[in-house]
C-alpha cells in the first residue's frame, strides 16, 4: 500500500527517544533501542522496568508519547500493516479463547492474517503445533491447557507464517526447566534460520546463553546496550591473589596498573582493567610472592545486571 518498500538492510528494530508516559509516570523514558538483523537480542530488566511497554509500542498496541519506532524498516504505528505480518509476537503471556481448542485458536489467528494463504493453513498450523510439541493436545480446549502448554501455543501462534523478527516477551514464564530449555533451543533454531529474535526476560540465566546482544532496562531507561561481550565489560573483571604477604601483593597489583586494589587478610585483589590477567600471576611470582591461589572473576551477565539495576525484589518505577 505504501509506495516505497521498506528497507531490508537496516536494523530489525530501531527506536529513537522512545517515550511512554502513563499519567504522571514515565514507563519508558527516551530509549534508543537498536536490534541488528540476525541478532538474538536479550531485552533484560526487572519487572516493571518498561520492557513490556516498549514491546507493546513496537507492535503498535500503544502509541508512544514521544520518539520514533522503526520495525523491519517500516515506521510504527504508521507502517504496521507492512511490518507486522513479518513479526511474530508473544506479548505478556499467552491469551486465547478458553472454550476453543488449541488448533481452533490457531485457525482463528491465521484467519485474521490477510497475508496468510488459506490454502496452506492446515499444513502451516500442523507444522507450528508440531514444532512446539502440542500436536497430541491440539484438539483439547484451551482452558484445559497447563500454563506451559499455553505458552507453547502462543509460540505456535507466532510461527504460523515465516517471520523475520520474533518478539518474545518473557517466553519461559510458567515453563518447567525442560520447557525453558526447549524455548532456548527454539530461539537458537529461529536465529539459525535467519530470524532476528528479541527476547525479553527478567531471568538472565535463561537468555544469557543464547543472546548475541543485550539491552538492559531499568526504571524506564535503557542503561546498557550492545553485544553480550560489550555489556559484560561494563562491570570490571577482578583479579584476586591469595598469598601470605597481602601488602606486598597489593603493591605488585598496584604497580601493574590494577585499580581499586584492596588488601585482605589472605591476599589482595583489584580490577584488572586493560591488564591481561595472566600477567598478574607472573608479576606476583616474579616479585617472589608465594601465590597459593589466583582467581579472575569475569562478571556474569547477572553481575552486570545487578550492578546496573540494583539488587533486591523491588520493582522499578
Amino acid at each position: 500500500m505504501t509506495p516505497e518498500s521498506p528497507r531490508l538492510d537496516g536494523p530489525a528494530v530501531r527506536t529513537t527517544g522512545l517515550t511512554k508516559q502513563f499519567g504522571s509516570q514515565r514507563a519508558v523514558d527516551g530509549i534508543d533501542l537498536l536490534v541488528p538483523r540476525g541478532a538474538v537480542y536479550g531485552f533484560l530488566g526487572p519487572n516493571g522496568s518498561g520492557k513490556t511497554t516498549t514491546i507493546r509500542m513496537l507492535l503498535g498496541l500503544i502509541s508512544p508519547s514521544a520518539g520514533e519506532i522503526e520495525v523491519l524498516g517500516s515506521p510504527i504505528p504508521g507502517g504496521a500493516a507492512d511490518a507486522l505480518p513479518r513479526v511474530g509476537a508473544l506479548v505478556e503471556g499467552p491469551a486465547f479463547h478458553p472454550y476453543l481448542s488449541g488448533r481452533e485458536n490457531l485457525v482463528r489467528l491465521d484467519a485474521a492474517d490477510r497475508t496468510a494463504d488459506p490454502a496452506t493453513a492446515r499444513r502451516r498450523i500442523d507444522t507450528a503445533l508440531e514444532r512446539v510439541g502440542l500436536m497430541p493436545v491440539a484438539g483439547k480446549r484451551f482452558r484445559a491447557y497447563s500454563l506451559g502448554m499455553r505458552q507453547r501455543l502462543a509460540i505456535a501462534g507466532a510461527l504460523l507464517t515465516p517471520k523475520d523478527l520474533m518478539v518474545l516477551d518473557e517466553p519461559t514464564n510458567g515453563l518447567d526447566p525442560q520447557g525453558t530449555r526447549e524455548v532456548r533451543s527454539l530461539i537458537a533454531s529461529l536465529a539459525q534460520e535467519g530470524s532476528t529474535v528479541l527476547v525479553s526476560s527478567h531471568l538472565l540465566s535463561e537468555v544469557e546463553q543464547v543472546c548475541s546482544h543485550v539491552g538492559v532496562m531499568h526504571a524506564g531507561h535503557l542503561v546498557a546496550q550492545g553485544t553480550s561481550a560489550e555489556v559484560r565489560n561494563v562491570a570490571a573483571t577482578e583479579a584476586r591473589v591469595e598469598t601470605d604477604q597481602p601488602a606486598e601483593a597489593a603493591r605488585v597489583l598496584h604497580e601493574l596498573g590494577l585499580t581499586d586494589v584492596v588488601t585482605t587478610a589472605t591476599g589482595a585483589s583489584g580490577r584488572v582493567g586493560r591488564v591481561a590477567p595472566e600477567k598478574v600471576v607472573a608479576a606476583c611470582v616474579h616479585a617472589g610472592l608465594a601465590v597459593t591461589r589466583f582467581t579472575v572473576d569475569a562478571p556474569t551477565l547477572e553481575d552486570v545486571f545487578v550492578s546496573l539495576t540494583g539488587e533486591g525484589f523491588d520493582v522499578s518505577g
Partner: protein
C-alpha cells in the same frame, strides 16, 4: 553500536512481499466464535422458548383474551400471530438483552481474555476489527430476531393452523401475503436490534469488562423505553432508539402504514452511523494494555 557484526543471512535479505488478500476468513471465524459459543446458543434457546410458551399457554386456555397486546387476540385465528406476539413481548427485554450480551463481548471480551492484543499484532487493522465485529453482530441481531419469529410461525401453525390472515384493520389477506408481512416485520426488528448492536459495540470499546458493557447496553435500551413512556419528555421521543421499534405492527394494517417503519429505519441508521463513528474514534488510537 554493533550492527556491523550482526550475522545476516543473504537468503533473508529479500523478504517475501506482503500479500493482502480480500478474504472473508476472519468474518467467518468471528461468526463461528459467536454462534458456537454455548452461552450464545443458550440465549437463542431462551429467545425461542417465548413463542412456544405463548402458543402453549393460549392453546391450553383456549383464548388469547382481548386484554393482551394487539396480536394476542388473533392467535387462535391464525398461528402466524404467535410470531408477532412473541416479537412484541421480546422486543422490550429479551432481544435487546441477547444483543447486549454478544455486542458487549465484541471488543471487551477480546480485551478481557487478552486475545485483542494478539489480533492487533497479527496485524488486524483496528478499523477492520471493528467492521468485522459489527458485521457479525448484525448477523446475530437478525438471527436472534428470526429465531423468535420462525419458532413462533412453526409452533403457531402447528397448534393453530394457518390460512387467510385477518389484519389488525379487519381486512383479510392470503396466507402467503400474511407470511411475507411477518418476514418484513422480522427484518424491521432485526434492523432495530442491529442499531442497538452498534451502541453495544461502542460501549464494548470503552471497557475490558464484557459484563459491564452488556449491562450498560441493557440499561440504555431500558432507560429509552422508560423515557419513551413519559409524556412530559415527548420532545425527546423521536430521538429515542426504541421509539419506533413497535412500528412493525403497522405492517399489519391495510394499507400498510409505512410512516412509522420508515422513521424507525431512519433512526436506526442514524444510531448505527453515530455509534460506529464513536466506536472508531474511541478505538483507533486507544492504548491496548490488556
Amino acid at each position: 553500536m554493533s550492527a556491523a557484526d550482526a550475522t545476516t543471512d543473504p537468503t533473508r535479505s529479500a523478504a517475501p512481499p506482503v500479500v493482502r488478500r480480500i478474504s472473508a476468513r476472519f468474518f467467518v471465524s468471528e461468526l463461528r466464535l459467536v454462534f458456537r459459543r454455548r452461552r450464545n446458543l443458550a440465549g437463542l434457546l431462551v429467545l425461542a422458548s417465548v413463542p412456544v410458551l405463548i402458543a402453549v399457554a393460549v392453546r391450553s386456555t383456549g383464548s388469547g383474551g382481548n386484554e393482551g397486546p394487539d396480536f394476542f387476540g388473533s392467535i387462535t385465528q391464525n398461528g402466524l400471530f404467535v410470531a408477532l406476539s412473541a416479537l412484541t413481548i421480546e422486543i422490550t427485554l429479551f432481544l435487546p438483552l441477547a444483543v447486549a450480551v454478544v455486542a458487549g463481548d465484541a471488543v471487551a471480551g477480546e480485551a478481557n481474555t487478552g486475545t485483542l492484543r494478539y489480533l492487533l499484532a497479527v496485524p488486524v487493522s483496528r478499523l477492520r476489527l471493528l467492521l468485522v465485529k459489527y458485521a457479525a453482530l448484525v448477523v446475530f441481531a437478525f438471527v436472534a430476531t428470526f429465531v423468535v419469529s420462525l419458532t413462533g410461525i412453526a409452533i403457531g401453525l402447528a397448534l393453530f393452523g394457518g390460512g387467510d390472515v385477518t389484519l389488525l384493520s379487519g381486512t383479510q389477506v392470503g396466507f402467503g401475503a400474511g407470511l411475507l408481512r411477518v418476514v418484513l416485520a422480522s427484518l424491521y426488528v432485526g434492523c432495530a436490534m442491529a442499531s442497538l448492536a452498534a451502541v453495544g459495540l461502542f460501549v464494548s470499546t470503552l471497557t475490558e469488562q464484557p459484563i459491564g458493557a452488556t449491562i450498560s447496553v441493557v440499561v440504555f435500551s431500558t432507560a429509552s423505553f422508560i423515557l419513551d413512556a413519559i409524556p412530559q419528555v415527548s420532545w425527546l421521543h423521536p430521538f429515542l432508539i426504541v421509539h419506533h421499534w413497535a412500528a412493525f405492527g403497522d405492517l399489519f394494517r391495510d394499507p400498510i402504514a409505512w410512516d412509522g417503519v420508515q422513521r424507525g429505519l431512519f433512526v436506526a441508521a442514524a444510531y448505527v452511523v453515530i455509534f460506529l463513528a464513536a466506536a472508531w474514534s474511541r478505538f483507533a488510537a486507544k492504548d491496548v494494555t490488556s
